[in-house]
Symmetry: C2
């Protein structure tokens, strides 16, 4: 087995994949592409991944892109590793749906290319960019707190007592929220689950500041 | 079986689910929630789906939200219906990754709540909103055209010769592009696949203008 993760320490989509690899106990090498310096737009990387995004996971000769697709792939290609999706279709749907609140409804609005567009194309100042960022964080955490508090399948983690894809998406989003000084105190259930995740080495080792390319 | 789809004719995430249900031959009822009139924010619907988004699929007593999670659920819960994901982990990853170029990287930037924010909070005029919309469409179709042209698994459809989740996400995005007068002529491979999909009744019947709530 030779897994190579193309990543960037501060990319929260990369962070998700690092957590999943750690939870599954799958060893991997890392190759960093500095997004702020534009290294993901270098011709050699575009030859690997034409979209120029991280993460991308090379598994031998195969390249998989898109963080959630990578994690679903790991779940299917390495079935003897700890699962990050539950067993039944209804439970799996709940986990995928919670994950999508972050991965589809929130993170795409707040990533680097969007913040750059707001600054350079729309000329928004820092206060207006922060208002944008916080608006979508608020919608995200309002939705997650409501669901996680109301739905009976919530346990120690987002779904039951073991970490799943939902927690894998949640934790990096909380790191983003803190970096942008977003107030998380209205979200006690979310933060209880965050604390449970941060008690696990698999989550801690995946943190941005612990990566080889961290600044 | 009693499937009830909470949808809106113009919601492209709802449109994805309609295509999947049609491809699988699963009968369903529809309950429309008029997004522009704010009906998705009515208390009775928030009681069903606290996030207030469409689509949501009720399967008996269970409610599933998030379009891709719903389609993955249908794939797992109704295994005797036509598949919209291929068989092997590598192939499934490719389809999910192509789908995510639309469902994660593009559509969340261009949906109604974002266009409203651009207009009311940022005060952008129509030209600036269109420039925003077209920017992310261009990144989306540039990426898809490059991949679909280069990757050997592309067939009559995005992956092989049968429709998959990737086509289910692609077709509504092309309807959006046309509605916003985006030039699709630089994307011959994408449009060849679009034409193949539009030859199928399952795609045609799911079109926005053919829904009971169409205006």
């Amino acid at each position: 087995m030779a897994l190579l993760l193309h990543d960037y320490f501060r990319s929260s989509a990369s962070y998700r994949v690092r957590i999943a690899l750690n939870l599954k106990g799958l060893p991997y090498r890392q190759q960093a592409h500095h997004l702020v310096k534009g290294e993901h737009r270098a011709p050699d990387y575009l030859g690997i991944n034409p979209q120029g995004f991280v993460p991308a996971l090379a598994d031998g000769d195969v390249l998989i892109t898109q963080s959630v697709a990578i994690i679903e792939y790991l779940e299917e290609a390495y079935p003897d590793t700890p699962r990050v999706l539950p067993a039944t279709p209804v439970e799996r749907a709940r986990v995928r749906s919670l994950a999508a609140v972050v991965a589809a409804d929130t993170h795409p609005l707040n990533n680097l290319r969007i913040l750059k567009y707001l600054q350079t194309e729309l000329g928004l100042d820092e206060a207006a960019r922060t208002a944008w960022y916080h608006r979508w964080l608020k919608e995200c955490f309002d939705a997650l707190e409501a669901r996680l508090t109301a739905e009976p399948d919530t346990g120690r983690f987002c779904h039951g007592d073991d970490p799943t894809l939902a927690d894998i998406c949640l934790v990096p989003q909380i790191f983003n929220a803190r970096r942008f000084a977003f107030d998380l105190s209205p979200y006690p259930t979310v933060m209880r689950i965050f604390d449970a995740a941060q008690a696990l080495d698999a989550f801690v080792r995946a943190e941005p500041d612990r990566q080889p390319d961290a600044e």
